[in-house]
């Protein structure tokens, strides 16, 4: 093998494995040329070139039509374009990975662990997924030529690896494999925040139009310029305090759920359901404190106003073995049956990896969607609570909860924060997108959203997985 060309541990081989949709046909090759300026040889052209001059296949790109795969030689600065292709629904490119298993083939054949150590941060595979070895490869493969057997086997191993991953994901989520999404960590927040990109909320054509989202929190900065002209209904459930946000938490959460497509300042987009109607209920005072009475009153207000979604970035810690509140469960079930679905933060009491705390109250009620936080690498945030208790104490869904850029009361205008409080309104906004897209409400809406999530392991930390917009 011309191992010098394909690398023996170098992290900068510049090769990627590109997977095309099943029906891509010739459009795959055209896409490579148009988007990446890459001319891919067919397997036979490639063999010819390689036979004549063995070292020449280093820089070449190959199209393996039978597999729907191309091996692409591209400089690292093209990564962004590749990720853009993966996230573009119109592109036949559905996954991109670095050429990692190929040069791990020598270890693979010796049956060393092939999966440890990723060539490039941001493209690593989940370690728990099974990886094929040459022995497990399907017998039907394109005709291989003498010296290139190992070379192709390596690519085939990588391809099967990728298929394995995709098969383990829901059909809808198959277009956003781990490699591509994780590579978003490398992508700057151009145009929209990383969370809006990774959840595909920014790419969605649904903006929550005609949907109503109630955010029960510390209120809202009613003078924030990014929301000038927006329809905002407000109600304070705090005695002696107006809805004007004296803390900031509520303004940040409303920004994530409902912020504009184009902030007035020219900043990047940070809000999911940009056309949803905002219901700002103040149930926590300016010191961030509130009681069940005000929260229940806020839920009743949201229901009376026919809000499709109630976002509650609040809660209190729950111990192992503690039961959920029967009252909140009853209230959440009745609200959902009438078309008002409640989502709540899972809680921030964990200190991973050492300690994982239980999903808090009221997120632990079975009829409330409990939202965990993950970071750009799609890892559980260190603070994010886990599903340790049964009967409602599970995490239901995970959303971006680290480095979350959103609105903050003036004069600050913006702030980046982390917490399951930040993840919760993202799910609320995406639920509004789904509500608009499908017409579903209540539990049917929740189930639809959960089934569209990108599965992540372990379930304890992510529930159904990483929330994905319609």
């Amino acid at each position: 093998m011309a191992s010098a060309n394909i690398g023996t541990g170098s992290q900068t081989t510049g090769r990627y494995i590109v997977l095309f949709s099943q029906d891509a046909g010739d459009s795959g090759r055209r896409e490579l040329q148009a988007r990446l300026g890459i001319e891919a040889l067919s397997a036979s052209e490639y063999s010819e070139a390689a036979a004549g001059e063995p070292d020449s296949y280093g820089p070449a790109s190959i199209m393996l039509d039978e597999l729907g795969v191309s091996i692409v030689n591209a400089p690292p600065e093209r990564e962004e374009a590749m990720v853009a292709a993966v996230t573009d629904p119109a592109s036949p490119i559905i996954a991109v990975e670095p050429e990692r298993i190929v040069y791990a083939l020598s270890e693979l054949q010796g049956l060393e662990s092939p999966t440890n150590g990723s060539a490039m941060p941001g493209f690593s595979l989940p370690s728990e997924l099974p990886h094929p070895t040459p022995e497990t490869l399907a017998p039907s493969a394109p005709e291989l030529t003498h010296a290139h057997d190992e070379f192709y086997r390596g690519y085939r191993a990588a391809f099967l690896d990728m298929v394995q991953q995709l098969l383990e994901q829901r059909p809808r989520a198959a277009a956003t494999p781990a490699a591509a999404l994780e590579s978003m960590a490398q992508v700057q927040e151009l145009g929209s925040t990383w969370g809006l990109q990774a959840t595909r909320a920014a790419q969605s054509r649904f903006l929550g139009r005609n949907m109503r989202i109630a955010v029960l929190d510390t209120g809202f900065d009613l003078h924030h310029p990014d929301f000038a002209g927006r329809r905002v209904s407000t109600q304070s459930f705090i005695l002696g305090e107006s809805v004007q946000d004296g803390h900031g938490h509520g303004t940040h959460c409303i920004g994530t759920a409902c912020g504009p497509v184009r902030p007035a300042s020219g900043e990047r987009r940070y809000g999911v359901a940009s056309e949803a109607e905002i219901f700002a209920g103040k149930v926590l005072n300016n010191a961030g404190r509130g009681g069940d009475g005000g929260i229940l009153a806020g839920i009743a207000w949201a229901l009376a106003n026919r809000c499709e979604i109630v976002s509650m970035s609040l809660g209190s810690p729950v111990g192992l073995g503690d039961a959920h509140s029967q009252i909140y469960e009853t209230v959440a079930r009745r609200a959902a049956e009438k078309g008002t679905l409640i989502v709540a933060a899972a809680g921030n009491e964990s200190s991973r990896p050492g300690r994982i705390a239980c999903v808090g109250h009221p997120g632990n009620a079975p009829s409330i969607v409990a939202v965990a936080a993950l970071d750009r690498m799609l890892q559980a945030a260190p603070f994010s609570c886990g599903g340790l208790n049964p009967n409602g104490g599970e995490v239901n869904i995970a959303a971006p909860g680290v480095d979350v850029f959103s609105s903050w009361p003036m004069p600050s205008r913006y702030r980046s924060l982390q917490g399951t409080s930040m993840a919760t309104p993202c799910v609320a906004g995406i639920l509004a997108q789904f509500a608009e897209a499908t017409g579903l409400r209540g539990f049917a809406l929740a189930n639809h959203m959960l089934h569209q999530a990108r599965r992540l392991s372990p379930v304890r930390d992510f529930g159904w997985g990483f929330v994905q917009a319609p």
Partner: protein, 77 residues
Amino acid sequence: MARVQVMVSLSDGADTNSTVSGLKSAGLSVEQVHAELGVISGSCDEGSVDRLRAVAGVGGVERAREVQLPKPDSSVQ
């Protein structure tokens, strides 16, 4: 005796008005009635909580909790 804040849920199908009357008789100072949700908030003497539970139409009684956010300058919220 110390006063406590409580939440009371109505059983499915219970009549709100008669249940509220029963709760008042059992010692509840009713603050808010959310009929559409079937939930009532109020306060009572610490010793009356069990009596509230025995009122016809009551599904459950719980002491009200408080939640507290971190201070605004905390990076984890």
